[in-house]
């Protein structure tokens, strides 16, 4: 695990500086002066947020999803924070692990720039539409929109969890099929070095036009719910476009970092992203993403996926219950 940090001196400095910063806040600042809840001061909550973010990033990297699909449902289900605030921070969470890994992934040839740019435009358009819709809904319906969002997200999470259970058989190296004319004209084919096989692997993208439409939908749900979209982008690239799973995972991270960059600005421009709250989550993603990448070979992916599915199911049940409670006033004792 230390190799990743040994080879990146600047990242090691960032890790040490971050840990020193939070140690300083915990030991030298009077937490009581900054409020809190349930026996924890605000500073405790900030520091806990950082470590939870690191864990989320580790799970997300190994499971091959973005951190947003874990972060946003967890906080919507189990905290009373404003939903716009959670969703905007969720986009930050979804972005930053992808941002920091963009350089290493492109150097290793595991992120295809053509696929990134092909998917980026529909994701940007969809993401911005989703963000504007979310903000408009909150401004029009106020607190009632929180209940609608929780209920809708809870139902969607059940679908996502089901997707992971029934479509867990990702194709490591999809069989090369004859690609359509559109894909051939765009030259969406590449060869990369697969270190586990000690050989080159070639691939050709298929179903390109369908994928562009699906990327639009992924962008919309990502911007609307603050999920990012990694949970959908990887299966889309691998199962629909026939991209090898490693390249699909690498490309997804880079693609969503680009796609979500536009989706987050509508939230920033209405003050729905608060820096002091987003900061520990962002730093946790940067550092946790590195740790996750280092642990990728050490931990069993199946164990991590089982943990992810458990988190998704738990969050979805709680979200649906809270959504119904908020809209109907009926109390549902779940989790």
């Amino acid at each position: 695990m230390l190799d990743g940090f040994r080879n990146n001196r600047e990242l090691s400095i960032l890790v040490v500086a971050t840990l020193c910063c939070y140690l300083f806040l915990e030991t030298q600042i009077d937490g009581a002066a900054f409020g809190g809840q349930g026996g924890f001061s605000s500073i405790d909550i900030i520091v806990i947020s950082f470590f939870v973010s690191v864990i989320i990033a580790v799970i997300a990297v190994i499971a091959g999803v973005g951190g947003g699909v874990i972060f946003t449902p967890l906080l919507l289900a189990f905290t009373s924070f404003d939903t716009l605030l959670i969703r905007s921070t969720g986009l930050v969470v979804a972005m930053f692990s992808g941002l920091i890994s963009t350089g290493p992934l492109m150097r290793k040839g595991l992120a295809d720039i053509k696929l990134v740019l092909l998917g980026a435009l529909p994701i940007i358009v969809g993401g911005m539409s989703g963000s504007f819709t979310a903000i408009h809904l909150a401004q029009q319906f106020g607190e009632k929109s929180d209940g609608i969002i929780r209920l809708l997200l809870g139902l969607m999470l059940l679908l996502i969890a089901a997707l992971f259970i029934f479509k867990s058989g990702a194709s490591d190296y999809p069989v090369l099929k004859k690609s359509e004319n559109f894909s051939q004209r765009l030259k969406l084919r590449k060869t990369y070095w697969e270190s586990s096989l000690s050989s080159y692997v070639s691939y050709r993208a298929t179903n390109v036009k369908l994928s562009i439409f699906l990327f639009l939908l992924v962008g919309f749900t990502g911007g609307f719910f603050g999920l990012g979209g990694g949970w959908a982008a990887v299966p889309l690239l691998n199962l629909v476009m026939s991209i090898p799973i490693k390249v699909a995972t690498g490309t997804s991270g880079v693609l969503l970092a680009l796609g979500n960059a536009a989706a987050i600005w509508p939230y920033i421009n209405v003050g729905a992203l608060i820096g002091i709250i987003a900061a520990p989550w962002m730093l946790g993603q940067v550092i946790g993403g590195l740790i996750g990448a280092s642990l990728l070979t050490a931990l069993k992916a199946s164990v991590v996926r089982a943990l992810l599915i458990t988190i998704l199911f738990g969050s979805s049940l709680k979200l649906v219950a809270r959504g119904i409670e908020s809209l109907t006033g009926v109390e549902i004792p779940v989790l």
Partner: protein, 127 residues
């Protein structure tokens, strides 16, 4: 390569500013964006509008507000996040240049469009 390296270094810069802004937020006194009020309002579940009105701002601040007041901890943090989030813009324009040079004009155009759309999002213009 240029795409990845641009984003990598800007993300590191962003992280450093966020860290600095966090420390300053907790150390500064008499800030118009006091960290204790901000944190407690969020924990109490207030809406975004309620949070900013409670602090005494007539309107929720956007990035231009933070750029105009760069000495506050929250401003430094938000500027840091803004740099990180915007790191894709120069990266896409650099990529467009190299994609055109390597005879991939379609993807060069896509890169420029992606960069311009993101600039549009940053500007805060709404349709």
């Amino acid at each position: 390569m240029i795409y990845g390296q641009t984003i990598y270094w800007l993300t590191l810069l962003s992280s450093c500013l966020v860290l600095l802004g966090t420390i300053i937020s907790f150390l500064e006194k008499d800030s118009p964006i006091p960290a204790n009020q901000l944190l407690q309002s969020v924990i109490d579940g207030k809406s975004v509008d309620q949070i900013w009105h409670g602090i005494g701002l007539s309107a929720a601040p956007d990035m231009f507000f933070f750029l105009a007041n760069p000495s506050f901890g929250e401003s430094i943090t938000m500027i840091g996040i803004g740099i990180g989030v915007s790191s894709v813009i120069p990266a896409t324009f650099f990529s467009a240049y190299f994609l055109k040079k390597s005879r991939n004009p379609v993807f060069a155009v896509l890169a420029v469009m992606a960069g311009l759309l993101t600039c549009f999002a940053v500007s805060g213009i709404t349709l």
